[in-house]
């Protein structure tokens, strides 16, 4: 029963979020974060960012990918299927209806006014989330965030570098960083061992002297 309740909640929440994901792509991440991290506590803040990274690097629509990851985390494969269904129903229904009335829709003054207003609202929502996420990130890892965030922003916004290369680049830097830390740790351990050995010798000699 509890499982059914969670599935239903997952379905209705995905449906609700998808119906408001104007602008596509990353807009869904702030909405998911608000619902699943802050309201429902089904995910942690960092997990949400990791899921966003995976959703972005895999083929397909980010919103659908993010829904799959979220559903999988919450209820396994069944959860993933339910989240996909919730995410694709709103655009399917809306587009089906619009494709019948396209001309009337495009020229409708009220529709255009509402959509322009919503665009400004969407911009504010993204801005809000970026501020929150950036602050959390800087708190956790000051120098890394201070370097990575501006560099990636300039690369993607001004230089139009493909997101796939950015993600691959970050993975590469992560691997290098891991290796460097690993080597450093090994060296420290070696030194530590060297010190231990001399300590032992010293105590041995003392013992020997005392015995003598």
């Amino acid at each position: 029963m509890k499982k059914k309740g969670r599935l239903l909640k997952l379905f209705t929440t995905s449906l609700y979020i998808s119906a408001f994901t104007f602008g596509g792509g990353f807009v869904i991440i702030p909405l998911m974060r608000k619902k699943f991290v802050e309201d429902l506590h089904w995910l942690e803040e960092q997990e949400m960012l990791d899921l966003a990274a995976i959703a972005q690097s895999a083929p397909g629509a980010i919103a659908v990918n993010a829904a799959i990851l979220l559903g999988y985390k919450i209820m396994g494969i069944l959860g993933a299927l339910v989240a996909i269904l919730g995410t694709i129903i709103p655009p399917m229904v809306i587009i089906s209806v619009i494709s019948f009335f396209y001309n009337a829709f495009r020229t409708n003054v009220v529709v255009n006014a509402v959509l322009s207003g919503m665009q400004a609202g969407v911009a504010a929502v993204i801005c809000d989330v970026v501020i929150t996420m950036a602050t959390t990130n800087v708190k956790q890892n000051k120098w890394l965030s201070a370097v990575v965030m501006p560099v990636v922003f300039v690369l993607t916004y001004f230089l139009d570098v493909n997101v796939v290369y950015i993600i691959l680049g970050c993975i590469g830097i992560g691997i290098v960083w891991f290796v460097v830390q690993h080597v450093h740790k090994k060296q420290l351990e070696k030194q530590q061992k060297g010190n231990d050995v001399t300590d032992v010798n010293v105590t041995h000699r003392r013992h020997w002297r005392i015995h003598k």
Partner: protein
């Protein structure tokens, strides 16, 4: 070949090849749907992108539904949309499995530590694009104050204030922004 199978196969390609989401799907849809199969004219296709931008949902899904609908009715819409998500469903489920299994490894942790601030920057970049579209109605970067849409700036500022200060629900804020837009643009 059966039209449903054709739709399914074409949109599976769209789903599998559009890495990076959103606008990455457009060139692939264009090459298959407009150039190869002539299911839509180029002007239909431009309209389709406009609709996709004006309505919620990913462009790939919107296109699949729209094209399927035009070519083979509701059945076509369903088949094309399913085709579009099959590659994601398989690949992303696998990635999800791997992520939850291996994320506690040190090397995966280090990679994720570098990726997180990068993702924040990517979201910021998408956000700036939408802010510029809302304020100026254009896609590219601009600082021309004379073409600024004041109503849009005011709605933006008010929404941001309510979100930061009172932590209002984003969906409530967006609906309110839509209502404000209707009031301002229709009255002024």
């Amino acid at each position: 070949m059966n039209i449903y199978i054709e739709l399914l196969l074409v949109f599976m390609q769209v789903g599998a090849l559009s890495i990076g989401g959103g606008y990455a799907a457009i060139p692939i849809i264009q090459s298959r749907v407009v150039e190869q199969y002539a299911w839509l004219t180029l002007s239909d296709f431009t309209d389709l992108i406009t609709i996709a931008e004006m309505t919620p949902g990913p462009i790939a899904i919107n296109s699949a539904t729209f094209v399927g609908m035009q070519v083979a009715g509701i059945g076509g819409a369903v088949v094309a949309t399913i085709g579009c998500i099959i590659p994601s469903a398989i690949i992303v489920s696998l990635l999800a499995f791997l992520y939850f299994k291996f994320r506690s490894l040190d090397i995966v942790k280090d990679i994720l530590t570098v990726l997180r601030p990068a993702i924040v920057a990517l979201i910021a970049s998408a956000g700036l694009g939408i802010i510029i579209l809302a304020f100026w109605g254009t896609e590219g970067f601009t600082t021309d104050t004379s073409a600024l849409n004041i109503v849009s700036v005011m709605i933006f500022a008010l929404s941001l204030f309510l979100l930061r200060k009172y932590k209002l629900n984003p969906i409530a804020v967006m609906s309110g922004a839509g209502a404000l837009g209707a009031v301002f643009y229709l009255l002024l």
